[in-house]
């Protein structure tokens, strides 16, 4: 699957504002993993996603996808096997186009040519896919997406991404901009699709209950490092209290390290 070997990302290298956003990350995502990622602001969660997706190129290290080195591949090339959903629910779809046009574009990945693949056969296929959302969208296929709510558009983005069969999906707080009810719906759909279609995914969340409830593996990030990586039975036994305790334990330790470092200078 995806493997990060000793990956570092540095912003503003060589300037006084130099910021190590990721520090020597080693991570192996196995097939079928559903990883939840937590961490405070500035921990490097989004940078990790941007680096895997190819928005940022790492300053050091290697990224392997299916044992192939893709460290230098641009984002659009990696997008063929990596699906991604952003916090902004408008980023996954084109608002001034109809639902069926959007689904035609996302139906197959890669460059499009002069074929017209929207016909009654594909329309029927799209309709069957839309039924799974249980939002009644299958009756609104000619409507422009600006008419849809953020929750509906995020659910659609999720549906369209799932049917493009990516090897890895990256969910970057994809429910954070939705109201609680819609967030719940989209999250349930995410969980359902991931288990039903046996997908491999990573999800950033600020909600510790969600981080524990969903997925088979949990990463905690802080200061550009993965400070805690837990999976399987161990993860199942986690509670929010234990997680917070662990977080404080680790944070204090790094704090102390910093102090000794400063004292020595």
């Amino acid at each position: 699957m995806i493997e990060l070997k000793n990956v570092s990302v540095v912003f503003g290298q060589g300037t006084i504002n130099e910021n190590k956003a990721l520090k020597n990350i080693n991570l192996k995502v196995k097939e079928g993993d559903f990883i939840t990622i937590i961490g405070s602001n500035g921990a490097g969660k989004s940078t990790l996603f941007n680096t895997i997706a190819g928005t940022y190129l790492p300053s050091e290290g290697q990224i392997l996808a299916n044992d192939k080195n893709v460290t230098r591949d641009p984002e659009y090339k990696r997008a063929k096997y990596i699906g991604r959903i952003f916090q902004n629910p408008l980023l996954g779809t084109a608002g001034n186009m109809s639902l069926e046009d959007n689904m035609t574009i996302t139906h197959k990945k890669g460059m499009k040519w002069l074929r017209r693949s929207l016909n009654n056969k594909t329309r029927e296929l799209f309709r069957q896919q839309l039924v799974q959302l249980k939002m009644g969208l299958e009756h609104r296929m000619k409507e422009n997406l600006v008419m849809f709510s953020g929750g509906q558009r995020q659910a659609l983005t999720l549906l369209m991404m799932v049917f493009s069969k990516p090897s890895l999906i990256l969910l970057d707080e994809h429910t954070a901009a939705l109201d609680p009810k819609n967030a719940e719906i989209v999250l349930e759909l995410t969980d359902k699709f991931i288990s039903e279609y046996n997908l491999t995914g990573m999800m950033i969340t600020h909600n510790m209950t969600h981080a524990i409830e969903f997925g088979n593996r949990l990463l905690m990030m802080d200061g550009g490092e993965i400070i805690f990586d837990i999976e399987g039975e161990e993860k199942k036994a986690l509670t929010v209290e234990k997680l917070i305790q662990k977080f404080h334990e680790l944070r204090n330790k790094t704090f102390e390290n910093d102090r000794t470092l400063l004292a020595e200078e």
Partner: protein
Amino acid sequence: MIEGIFVEGLIYGIMVLGVFISFRILDFPDLTVDGSFPLGAALMVQCLLMGMNGWLALLVAFAGGVTAGAVTALIHNHLRVPNLLAGILTMTMLYSVNIRILGNRANVPILDQPTLLKQVTEKFTGIIPDEYILLVFFLVVALVVKVLLDLFFRTDLGMTLGAMGNNEQMVISQGVNPKTLKTIGVGLSNGLVAVSGAFAAQYLGFADVGLGQGIIVSGLASVMIGEFLMLKSNRIGVLTFCAIAGSICFYAVMYVGRFYGYLIHMTPSDLNLIKGVLIIVLLIATQAKKLKVPFKVAK
């Protein structure tokens, strides 16, 4: 006179369709147009002077326009130059190129060359009243271009171009390189502009390097008039129709200004001011239209 207005509106309507593609569909404000319009005219005139078949010459003009657009897109894509500046760069270079194509002259007449328009006029004399031949011809040409564009924007590639103008991240997420799309889109846009220039040269009877001056403003004004007059729709067929209708309205206003402007002591050089003022008025009118709709005030 009335047929003259329509003929002009239809010829420039092809250019307006090109401007519509870059400004509205691709969201790529492209100023190459000021150079690719006279480029089409120059290529047409030179090809005709060399004795080339008129339709073939039209194809050469189209190819020239596509190349000009592709150059702008490549400058923008690979040198990370803002799209406005990339267009200005190509436009400036095209000024010299156009003079070269015209054989180091700024103006080349083709009054005694067998242009496409003359061939068409000869063929249909007697069948259609003489003054309407060109009108019918350009109606057909504009309609063919419009229908071809409508078909193109309903293919997968055309839809993806539309999606890119709306949301570039979505296109990247679909594994499509937006740079390739921009090159295709801006190329197509300028190809149409050059075809329009090629027809304009035959209609006017000459090619001139100054033919394209301010053409982008005329194109944009026409697109905006079309949008203002017609219903809001996202159907490509309606949108392209609006662009052509807007062009006819705009060139009607310009026609009147040119021929009757002297009544209010207007000179042809005042027309650029009129174009600019027209765009400003349209912007204000569009805003006023929007304000009529009640909106919630954010607390």
